[in-house]
């Protein structure tokens, strides 16, 4: 059954119609046309589809769209203005780049909590994410760099 859902996406109020069984990723990608959230497995096992819901990392492939009513969803479309963007480019932190949208969201959630995460904190935050190209170390360095920027330290 199709339902009307009012939510905020990257701070902006949106109203969408979606089936009660539709996952959030379907609404983001196919209803709102926001393709930065990537599909990887559909089973909460790779992290490619990670978004933030009221600041908390959430698998959009399995989270029902109707459960986002009244919540604020953040997606990788919002990352261009965050220090993470420049940090990932400075470290050339990626090969194919497909896993990055999800990783950026988990990294943002971490940095929203603390601008001084330890290496272990970063690794724990990113451990739900798979990267098949092997860019892990660069990605960790990029998160460290973004944290330094947020602390006001020169990179």
């Amino acid at each position: 059954m199709a339902l009307e859902i009012a939510l905020r996406v990257n701070g902006e109020a949106r109203s969408v119609t979606a089936d009660e069984a539709a996952p959030l990723i379907h609404v983001l990608r196919n209803v709102l046309g926001m393709k930065a959230t990537r599909f990887g497995c559909g089973a909460e096992q790779c992290g490619a589809c990670m978004v933030l819901m009221d600041g908390k990392p959430t698998y959009s492939c399995s989270h029902l769209a109707i459960d986002t009513a009244g919540k604020n969803v953040e997606t990788a479309e919002c990352i261009g203005t965050h220090p993470l963007y420049d940090a990932f480019l400075a470290e050339q932190a990626g090969q194919c780049g497909y896993c990055l949208s999800g990783i950026l969201m988990s990294a943002k959630a971490l940095l929203d909590r603390s601008t001084s995460p330890s290496r272990d904190d970063i690794v724990s935050a990113l451990d739900p994410h798979l990267c098949r190209c092997g860019a892990h170390e660069r990605i960790i360095r990029a998160v460290e760099r973004a944290a330094a920027t947020l602390r006001g330290e020169a990179a």
Partner: protein
Amino acid sequence: MIPNALPLSLTDNPRLNQWVAFPEVGTVAVRTGKVELGQGLLTALMQIAAEELDVDISRIRLTSGDTDVSPDEGYTAGSRSVELSGGAIRLVCAEVRALILEAAAEQLGCDVADLAMEDGRVTREGAPTNLDYWMLAPHVDLGRQATGAAPAKAPTRFRVVGSDVPRRDLPEKVGGAPFIQDLAPADLLHARVLHRPRIGARLVEIDEAAALKAGGGVVTFHRSGDVVAVIGEDEAQVLAAFQRLRERARWEGGIDLAPGDAEAISLLDRPTAPDRVVERGTLAGTAAARRVEATYSKPYIAHGSIAPSCGLARFEDGRLTVWTHSQGVFFLRASISKALSLDIQAVHLLHHQGAGCYGHNGADDAAFDAAFVAMARPGRTVRVLWTREDELGVAPFGAAMVVRVSAGLDADARPVDWTIDIWSPTHGSRPGMNGAVHLLTANALEHPPVDPPPADVPDGAGGGASRNAFLLYDLPHQKMVHHFISAPPVRTSSMRGLGAITNVFALESFMDELAEEAGMDPVAYRLSLMSDPRARAVIEAAAEMSGWNEEPPEGFARGFAFSRYKNIAAYMAMVVELSVEEEVRVSRVWCAVDGGLVINPDGARNQIEGGVIQAISWALKEQVMFADGAVSSNTWETYPILRFSEVPRIETRLIGNPNHPSLGIGEVSQGPTIAAIGNGVARALGARLRHLPLTRERIMAALLEG
């Protein structure tokens, strides 16, 4: 000096304007038949073009993998793109620059030696002229054949090549730019295609009514033979219908897929083609004082791209357009046209980037799936996205292999004879290879194309199972016996490194075993058998970087390995430091690589180090499993790969001489990584594990035996 011999890509596509044109003032159109797979190739090719044309890299507009306009450069594979496409672009751009300067000299009535090019504008003795590429190009015949005679730049004059130019595609990708999976033209139709769970299975029952209901009553179906597609406007409904269809589909027959077939060693029980024997060198005549023999294996492994494969296609007015992340758009065009009985001129393929690609995955098959559905829905753009289960379950696998090495040793434990026996199915079943169509869904149609019997990648093309079967060490005699398995239980094809993965693992493990026989340090033993100076240089560099001669920290062991990929690409030596408790944990890695002239050192490091991490994952975790007549390792839970918490620190030194030609580095690190881990584990445990993956169960078994 880097020679000016014409690379294959240029002899195949000899006209200058197949590669470079100036259709728009201020930009340069450069075309390549090679494609971006996540490896950063396009940035490297743009660097080469910018360097030789003397234009800023931002002026380069690179078209890649479009069968209507790109030069046909075959597959993007084998770590040869910089050598072949880069080599062609380098010579073509140098020649175009020279021709344009000659035309300028004629117009200005001056000596060409007085002229130079600065960001596309002609200067005369350092002062600007009113001439540039865009004014002069219409007056120069760029349709002429490349000669390779124009002098390309000497490395001392490089400004762009050899520097860490940031990836040109990354800013957009980090910003969410569309991969092929994200394309959504306005007339899009979504589709999912049901695939056979095993080779040759027949679809005996489907429940279309149940699938239709699950799809909200609005999806449609298209069937031919054992293929069924679910089609609709709404992706969620199509997926729901497809999942129901798949649950209720009943399959019969097909190739037997028993759990034990997942063990590589079961290859020894399969029929083989007649042995193929290749020998190098001559037996010295010295009698062996003793013999050493060991058998190693690697199971079937999955590509595991992070995105499921995807294809888009549109059929209209008798013409089929296909968007694909294939590695070989020209070969795929030929296979699609043959399977669908279309004139090849009526089929247009365009490459669009997908997630990281490490070989022949589901990309080609997904493109055909989309084409199959598009033919039934003319006038609409059809998008087929595979499921994760199909990506890990029915895409081609990296071939399982068994390798037995046997050597006769003299009194000093130096080899006097040497035999490698290799059991493997094919590493080459890409579309077009061996003259076959090679498309999953095409082979399940009501009227499938007739493919010739399988064959492996020929030695002349780098070899499949035979890749790196021969060693670079100073051995008087080497013999390879290739036992080709023509009917493996699953489809196998090219995966990053092909046979080199297992051969280098086996041979470099065996080198350590021989060093032990000789009572020598593994590095010293290797050096005692190696006269190639570039090989010696990387071996010595890796040993020095890691402090090989000092003891590792308490609780850690180190392993060493060397290889030159394909014996013609880059040289690499490496050391891993690891600990073994219940599981192997690699904590540090040191790599020394000689790839000759490196176009983009940071890009090269990214490839080498990414390859190390991927190979650690293969070595420690990965094995395709079978159950209930199908691949059961078709989720990330059942096919785990290395995670952030498991990656080591890696240090890489590039020691190549820029005056040497570029040597491929994209697949250099996989074989050595696995061998170095095997050697480290042997030192840590005092017992050698010769069968991949090096899991907790195998470690416990070795400890119990030991």
